[in-house]
């Protein structure tokens, strides 16, 4: 083993530690302020709480109440989990079919799915929310179906890239053994697609959990997800309870950090794999 140079041993770790501190700094500031009285937040945001400005958990109590945070958390979780499940299963099935049955029509559909990835949401924002209203999709179940429609582009694309590497002979063997197509897919093909399924699930979960505009437009007045609830707290023109705001920001960050620490290995792999296929 060659000896590590001084740069690698001391200077770079010091530099990286400094950068890491800079990266964490904004979240620390919010955390600190979430324990301060609301008037001391705007005036002295960078001063830690002291005996005069310490507010205990009051901000958290107000924040939870003002945003109805537990309800928002439930809807965010409900919509994210079921949308992701539906996207993973349905787009894997679609991608397998579109890759295995090659006709002009299936190629056209594939291109259409890929095309939808580039189009900005604002293009369909107005007409989509009207369509959702007309068809009665403006509820937490309906929005899951809408997420399948929006998520299918990237997901079909990622799955197709992987299906191509699944050997046809396996599927043929299953068919000869008497498997019907649905059995072949779920018993033979889908287990092989698992790594891609994890990638697809993670990328979609990150998007849907944090998505603001789609839930706001479609179900925002009746069912608020976390981002929508935060935006409502900010309100229109009235003054904001800064204390409650800080507490809610922290409450919104906690589930994400927990999710990340639990699935870190898969998330990092998923992001890298999702990019390589692109």
């Amino acid at each position: 083993m060659p000896k590590k140079s001084i740069t690698i041993k001391f200077i770079l770790p010091a530099l990286l530690s400094f950068l890491a501190a800079v990266f964490i700094f904004p979240v620390i500031i919010i955390l600190m302020n979430s324990f301060k009285t609301k008037f001391s937040i705007a005036n002295t945001p960078f001063v830690p709480p002291n005996s005069a400005t310490f507010a205990g958990v009051e901000n958290y109590i107000n924040g939870l109440a003002d945003t109805n945070f537990l309800s928002a958390f439930f809807w965010s979780l409900f919509i994210t989990v079921f949308s992701v499940l539906l996207i993973v299963i349905c787009s894997a099935m679609a991608a397998w079919f579109l890759t295995r049955v090659k006709t002009k029509f299936t190629s056209f559909l594939y291109i259409l799915f890929v095309f939808s990835m580039i189009i900005p949401f604002q293009m369909v924002m107005f007409t989509m929310s009207k369509t959702a209203n007309t068809l009665g999709l403006d509820n937490p179940i309906g929005i899951i179906f809408l997420y399948l429609g929006f998520g299918s582009g990237l997901s079909v694309f990622l799955f197709s890239g992987f299906v191509k590497s699944v050997p046809l002979s396996l599927e043929e063997a299953a068919t000869i053994d008497g498997c019907r197509p649905l059995q072949t897919f779920f018993l033979v093909v889908f287990p092989l697609l698992k790594p891609t399924a994890v990638t697809v699930a993670i990328l979609n979960a990150m998007w849907i959990w944090n998505d603001y505009l789609l839930p706001y437009l479609v179900i925002g007045s009746d069912y608020k997800t976390i981002p929508v609830a935060i935006q409502y707290l900010k309100g229109g023109y009235g003054s904001v309870d800064m204390g409650a705001m800080m507490a809610v920001l922290i409450l919104a960050i906690i589930p994400v950090v927990v999710f990340y620490l639990l699935g870190q290995k898969h998330i990092i792999k998923g992001v890298a794999a999702g990019a390589v296929k692109g």
Binding site: I118, F126, F145, P181, M206, Y260, Q264, V276
Partner: protein
Amino acid sequence: MENRKVNPLKKYFPVFVGPTLIAFIIAFFIPFIMGVYLSFAQFKTVSDAVFVGLKNYITVFSNSDGFLNSLWFTVKFVVISVISVNIFAFLLALLLTQDICGRNFFRTVFFIPNLIGGIVLGYIWQLIFNGILMNYGYTLTSNENFGFWGLVILINWQMIGYMMVIYIAGLQNIPNSILEAAKVDGAGKTRTLFNIIIPNVMPSITICLFLTITNSFKLFDQNLALTAGAPANKSAMLALDIYKTFYSKSGWEGVGQAKAVIFSVLVGVIALLQLYLTRRKEQEY
């Protein structure tokens, strides 16, 4: 005749593709087609649409509207943030593929901001920028330049970690033998970087450029939370400007839709052009 036989799978189309396709048609395809048509119409509720030809497009480009301003704001933002995000992410990736202690910890920290949603990010940085600017008697919304640089800093903070992960994956794919060979041949650090490392991570560069360009163009949540376009819509990027045209200006829905069509064409053309150019570069090496 054997290989002319119809694929037995074919009749299962409704089972396999049906659910996804129906959702896709309802959520994307029909709204997209309607959107293209409505950009040539005047309407408030879709069903009352009256065809008006190119009138909406003419309004978009007339000076009375903020579109050109937000187009220019967005283009400046995209150029600066795409360059800065990719340079910082690549440098971090280079550092974190060295044999440094604690590198997994650093990767974890740099990636976290990416998981936090745009609305939350916007409010986090709003407090920080206002806290700094307060000392000079300003707020974030007293001048659109504050909003602009605020967004640039925010997007760097958010996207650097994500792109870093992609660059790290690319760097780890370079076979060690090539790097050893370069060393034996006496290539210096700069030459190794430009002649060996960068050509070998071209696929990562392609995808990172694609992701940063499209995400910066489409930026909405962060913009809404940080400044909401203030002052006087001068810090509104295209997506926010389109949103406001739809929902805060009654009677302007057609103009909003026309803006959305122009926006889609712009993003589509630039993204495809970038993919074409960098893919070609990949093959050159």
